[in-house]
């Protein structure tokens, strides 16, 4: 079991090791797992401060990911509250529509969205990416289960005290579902950070590239410098691992609950 785990991790160990050594040693066989000559500083310095502009890609990814996550949490939790705690005409029918759209693969809407984005000026902007990620339906499903499990008595007693839905939502229910919100926020963060397809289709300018696009362009350009490519890969993975290790319990819970990516 432990052995299998190590085999599973080998690609990552190899990646880390290759990112630390001079190019000439990358393909030495047998593999030098611990580099004999260290070139870590040079490798990482050229990735981060060379022509590759990794700092810019990082900043773009942070911006897009953070704003997408915020928007998505806001939109999804509001909808989850509305669909579970407010009675209004057409509620169930509307929820079925939302549920049905979840079956539509995002890929099926790429072409028309591209055309719509081109004609509305959202193409090649970060705002476009943020809106696309922010209105994903999955969050509504995940959070709905949590809102549904909260007793209506909270709402009723708050209503007697004269509180409206906005106050109830913000000051009573939102704090109660905080663990669920955290779970969804972490998942959304990881998915957005990792997303390659959406930026690839909806971005054109190199200065707007997110880390995934930048990483891909970097790998194409530096096809022969494997030590640099590995340093770039390590750089691309580290933030995800940090978020995952910090929010491990939440991620695992969220995956078990929601199961799919979206």
């Amino acid at each position: 079991m432990a052995l299998l785990g190590i085999v599973f991790l080998l690609p990552f160990i190899w990646m880390l090791s290759a990112s630390l050594k001079p190019e000439a040693d990358v393909f030495k066989y047998p593999i030098e797992w611990i580099p004999q000559t260290w070139r870590a500083a040079f490798n990482y310095h050229s990735v981060w401060f060379g022509k590759a502009n990794f700092t810019l890609y990082y900043w773009n990814s942070i911006k897009v990911t953070a704003l997408t996550t915020l928007l998505s949490v806001a939109v999804s939790s509001m909808a989850a509250y509305g669909f579970t705690k407010i009675r209004f005409p057409g509620r169930n029918a509307l929820f079925v529509v939302v549920l049905a759209t979840y079956m539509i693969p995002a890929e099926a809407t790429l072409v028309p969205l591209f055309i719509i984005f081109r004609s509305t000026g959202l193409y090649d902007t970060h705002l476009g990416l943020i809106l696309l990620g922010g209105f994903s339906v999955l969050g509504t499903f995940l959070l709905r289960q949590f809102f549904a499990s909260l007793s209506n008595e909270y709402i009723e007693s708050a209503q007697i005290d004269g509180a409206g839905h906005i106050r109830i939502f913000l000051s009573i229910l939102f704090p109660l579902v905080r663990p669920a919100i955290a779970t969804y926020a972490i998942l959304r963060f990881i998915w957005t950070w990792n997303d390659f397809q959406t930026p690839l289709v909806f971005l054109n300018s190199k200065t707007l590239y997110t880390l995934q696009l930048g990483m891909n362009a970097f790998a194409d350009r530096n096809g022969a410098f494997y030590s640099l490519i590995m340093a770039a890969s390590v750089s691309a993975i580290v933030p995800l691992l940090v978020v995952f290790i910090l929010g491990q319990k939440q991620v695992i819970e969220g995956i078990s609950l929601g199961g799919v990516k979206g």
Partner: protein, 311 residues
């Protein structure tokens, strides 16, 4: 909402006040769900209808809306003679094999991890790493590992005495299996975690009773663990197959569909057709076929589940 004594208007005759209250309540409902409904409308429903219409046209978006030409079912007729598309579709179906194989490995690992606990938390993190890591970075790493002449994988094989190790991603015969191998490696963590959650839900007294009856570990697995996990298996199969059909990033970064279209899939072909060859209408008809296939597979599985899933 529960009717409650403290909200008398809900069971009295409607008065002007209660009607007003109801209107406010409805308004709040639309206020809270509105943003999501608007998003669904603008980013999914309208594009989907648009896509459906475009699939019956010969059009390239660069020429402007006035150049849209209705072409009926021409695109679909053409698709079934389009070798690249048929190859991509075929590849999609071959790739589906990665789903049950990955699930079987995940199930075995899940049983081992839950019954022989050394450090389940650590193992979850380890098996989850490929899933959490960026697809682009992971694909780039594997491109190097699989390098035909000096990649470590073939270095290892040569050291074992394999004379002509496969060229992996560069060889049309091995490229698709290599991609599938990576898919299993990437997705194993998710299935594993969901299986572990399922296994933990199985009541322990079932195993105790079976042990008293003298059932072997394998018999216990066959008649307790596996049958009780069928809902989990069903869930993983449905979501796995849908996810598999949508795989794009890995193919795009790892092989660009090559060599000789041996790893092309429908979504990749659609991307090329729409955004590289700029054939908007034709690409939309590919999307429609993909959509119908995903719906059909999901539908068939729902219908078939009562024959093997125990709830």
């Amino acid at each position: 909402m529960k009717t409650s004594v403290t909200l008398p208007q809900s069971h009295n005759k409607p008065t002007a006040g209660s009607r007003k209250r109801k209107r406010i309540e409805a308004g709040m409902g639309y206020f809270f769900t509105g943003p999501m409904l608007l998003g669904v409308l603008v980013f999914t429903l309208i594009p989907m209808i648009f896509s459906f219409m475009l699939s019956f046209t010969k059009w390239s978006f660069v020429t402007g809306f006035d150049k849209i030409r209705w072409s009926g079912l021409d695109n679909f007729r053409q698709l079934f003679q389009d070798e690249v598309f048929l190859k991509s579709l075929g590849n999609n179906f071959i790739m589906l094999l990665a789903v049950p194989v990955g699930m079987a490995i995940a199930l075995i690992l899940g049983v081992i991890i839950t019954s022989h606990v050394y450090a389940p938390g650590a193992f979850k993190v380890i098996y989850f790493m490929p899933q959490i890591s960026s697809v682009v970075a992971v694909a780039v790493v594997w491109q190097v590992l699989f390098h035909p002449s000096y990649g470590p994988v073939n270095g290892f094989l040569s050291a074992l005495g394999v004379d002509n190790p496969p060229k992996w991603l560069a060889d049309p015969t091995y490229a698709l299996p290599s991609v599938m191998l990576l898919m299993i490696w990437i997705d194993l963590g998710v299935s594993l975690i969901i299986y572990i959650a399922g296994i933990k839900n199985i009541p322990a007294d079932l195993y105790e009773a079976a042990t008293i009856d003298g059932a072997s570990k394998f018999a216990q697995f066959r008649s307790i663990t596996f049958p009780l996990l069928t809902p989990t298996t069903f869930f993983l199969l449905v979501t796995g197959i849908i996810g598999n059909f949508k795989s794009f990033a890995l193919v795009k970064v790892l092989t660009d569909g090559g060599p000789a279209n041996s790893t092309s899939v429908v979504v990749y072909d659609m991307y090329q057709t729409a955004f590289v060859d700029l054939q908007t209408g034709y690409a939309s008809s590919m999307v429609m076929i993909l959509f119908v296939i995903v719906l059909a597979i999901t539908g068939l599985q729902w219908l078939g589940q009562r024959y093997w899933v125990n709830y």
